[in-house]
Symmetry: C2
Subunit: 187 residues, 2 copies
Amino acid sequence: MNIDQILDKTHPINSSSKIKLCECFEEVILPKNKLIIRSDKVEKNIYFIKKGIARTFSNFDDSEVTIAFGEEGDTIISLKSYILNQKGYENIELLEECELYKISATKLHYLFSTDIDIANWGRKFAEQELIKAEQRFISNQLGTATERYLELIKKHPTLLQRVSLGLIASYLGITQVSLSRIRANIT
Amino acid sequence: MNIDQILDKTHPINSSSKIKLCECFEEVILPKNKLIIRSDKVEKNIYFIKKGIARTFSNFDDSEVTIAFGEEGDTIISLKSYILNQKGYENIELLEECELYKISATKLHYLFSTDIDIANWGRKFAEQELIKAEQRFISNQLGTATERYLELIKKHPTLLQRVSLGLIASYLGITQVSLSRIRANIT
DNA sequence: ATCTTTTTTTATCATTTGATAATTTTTTCT
DNA sequence: AGAAAAAATTATCAAATGATAAAAAAAGAT
């Protein structure tokens, strides 16, 4: 998925603005298991996934929560860094070797302040992430872990091939052992 | 809390743009228990709370999830209506008589497309809601219901006086009876 | 003020999930 | 291929939460 498609998916931008925006991206390839974003640092860049898969997680004390998986077309972003220029609560690691489009938050913010089309793209970007966040929240509150598991693999059928059950369990808010038990009781 | 303060809290706007924006708001007073937003309809307006408290909730089958409580300065919004012009999953009811600032989504979107300052205000608005949504998600995944309850009343000490325990339980993702038991085991 | 309705508490039992440990299966490395 | 490491399953017991019902307390209505 190339950067043009990724940007358009959020919101179409007129061609001169899009050229300005696309010029700011750099393409990088990073290895599997790379911890690309750390919660203890302000992250200066935002990434879009051309190819590969990443996991966003947060740890407190000794427990860890998987917040999201990002696949092709998704964003790798520390929200608090991007929005508030503060260190965030997200760690993001690459679960496969990834091809990424990278852009500096500073450049992006400059474009927001000078180009209304790009500003509205940025608005749409945040809005769509917000919709996703709310949907995720609601579906996590509803139903049993079994239902949520079935829902997840229905919505993301390839996830099981790409991600270990331990991480999926942490995404569902249960332990890996519980997920194993749940799987044993469905088929 | 007046509309000027509410807007500035999100992001300062230059004075001529702010005048344009403020002109679009209308002040309304609505009674307690009014279901101001229904999930089965596309909602044409957005509201900011001058005074009062509202509850956002979603129901599926016969279960109900409280997504948020909105207090002074917060927004009453159907995200899917506002962002995608589709009917949403949120119902919003007023838990007290409320004084609200009301604006049409159409007018707001027109301003976004013509005024870069307002577009960036709209971007910031979505971004800040996004941060809140993610924080809420994480804190709901972490810890026991007891910890989440204690956290909630620490953060929103007046909530207990304004909202019944049944609604708080639904916000915490547990039953009202469980919350009662939890409360019995802390003091 | 009294009655009615709603909210909250308490109790009991069932179900789900967690914690831990042992075992099996799969993946990775050389 | 074979050894080592990682991931997944299975089993057992403990803890947390749900479902239901009954009683007590609080809030609202006339």
